[in-house]
Point group: C2
Chain length 171, copies 2
C-alpha cells in the first residue's frame, strides 16, 4: 500500500474478524517496532506476542478498556523496565510511542487494524505474560482484521483543525 | 512510496541539502502528526513550523545535540503544556512519540530525512518560538533532504536482534 494511504487509513479498531494473522504479517509488524528510533538508541522495549485465545482472554482483564484484547487475533504487549528516574520514564514513553506508531502503520499497510490499550492491573499482566519483577507492561496493541469495515483513507479525521494545531514561525 | 520502504528507509539524518521543502510536503508531514492517535483523543500537542534560516540558527542553541536544526530546511517544534501530574506527563510523551513517528514516516515517504532532538534550554526555546508560559518545547524534528545519500531501505539496522526483542507467548 502507498505510505500515505496507510497513515491515513489507520484508525482505532476494537472489533476484529475471527481470523488469524499470518506469521509473516506478525513478523513485519514486530520488525517495524524493532526498527523504531530511540534516545541514544537504547531500545528500552521488549515485545511479547500473544496469539493463544485463552491467554488473550486473560490478558483482556488487565484494564477495563482492554476487552478488545480478548477478541483480537494477536496482541503485542510492549514491555518496559521499571525506573525511579522520572526523566528516563518519560524518554521511555516517548520511544515506545514511536515504536507503537511504526507497528500500527505497518499493520494498516497490511489491512490489519489495531487499537492500543493501557494496562491497569500489572499483577495480572505479569502473571499472564510471565514478566520478571523489574518489568511491566506499558501498553497492549491488539491486532486483527477489522470486523466493521476494511481500513481505508479517512477524509475528515476527528481531530483539532490543522490551523489550530500548526503554528507558523512562532506560537 | 510503498509503506514498508518508507518505514525501513527512515534513519537519523543530521546533514541536510541546502534546498527548501515544498509547502505541500511540509503540510503532509504536519498532517501525519495531526492525525496521530492519543489517549482519549486529547491531542496534547501543538506544532510550530520554523523555516527561517536565522530563526533555525537560534533554535539550534537549545541543546548541544541540536546543531543540525540550524542546517535543516525546516524544523517542527513539538509543544506540550506543563503538567504537575506524572501520569499525564508520561501519557503526553507516549502520544507525541506516536505523532513524531507518523511525521518521520511521512517524511521518509517523500525522501525527506529527519533527526529529532531533545530540548535543554527552555528559555531559549520559549524566546525563539514565542511560547506561552504554560507550554514547553518537548522535541524538535529537523527536516531536509539528506546531504550524505538518499533514503533507501536499510537491510541491517543497528538494533537488538529480533529474537532478543520479541518473546512468544510469554517472556
Amino acid at each position: 500500500m502507498d505510505t500515505w494511504d496507510a497513515i491515513t487509513s489507520r484508525r482505532d479498531v476494537r472489533e476484529f474478524e475471527d481470523r488469524p494473522l499470518a506469521e509473516e504479517e506478525l513478523e513485519r509488524i514486530l520488525e517495524a517496532g524493532r526498527r523504531a528510533p530511540s534516545s541514544r538508541n537504547w531500545q528500552p522495549w521488549d515485545f511479547v506476542l500473544v496469539t493463544d485465545r485463552k491467554q488473550l482472554g486473560e490478558l483482556a482483564k488487565v484494564w477495563r478498556g482492554a476487552g478488545h484484547v480478548g477478541r483480537s487475533a494477536a496482541t503485542i504487549a510492549v514491555i518496559l523496565a521499571h525506573s525511579d528516574d522520572a526523566g528516563e520514564r518519560e524518554r521511555a514513553q516517548y520511544d515506545i510511542g514511536q515504536a507503537t506508531m511504526a507497528m500500527q502503520i505497518a499493520a494498516a499497510d497490511l489491512g490489519i487494524g489495531s487499537g492500543h490499550s493501557a494496562v491497569g492491573d500489572q499483577d495480572q499482566a505479569r502473571a499472564v505474560l510471565g514478566l520478571p519483577k523489574d518489568r511491566y507492561a506499558a501498553y497492549l496493541i491488539p491486532l486483527g482484521y477489522p470486523a466493521d469495515r476494511p481500513l481505508e483513507p479517512i477524509k475528515k479525521p476527528d481531530r483539532r483543525t490543522f490551523a489550530e494545531v500548526v503554528h507558523r514561525g512562532r506560537w
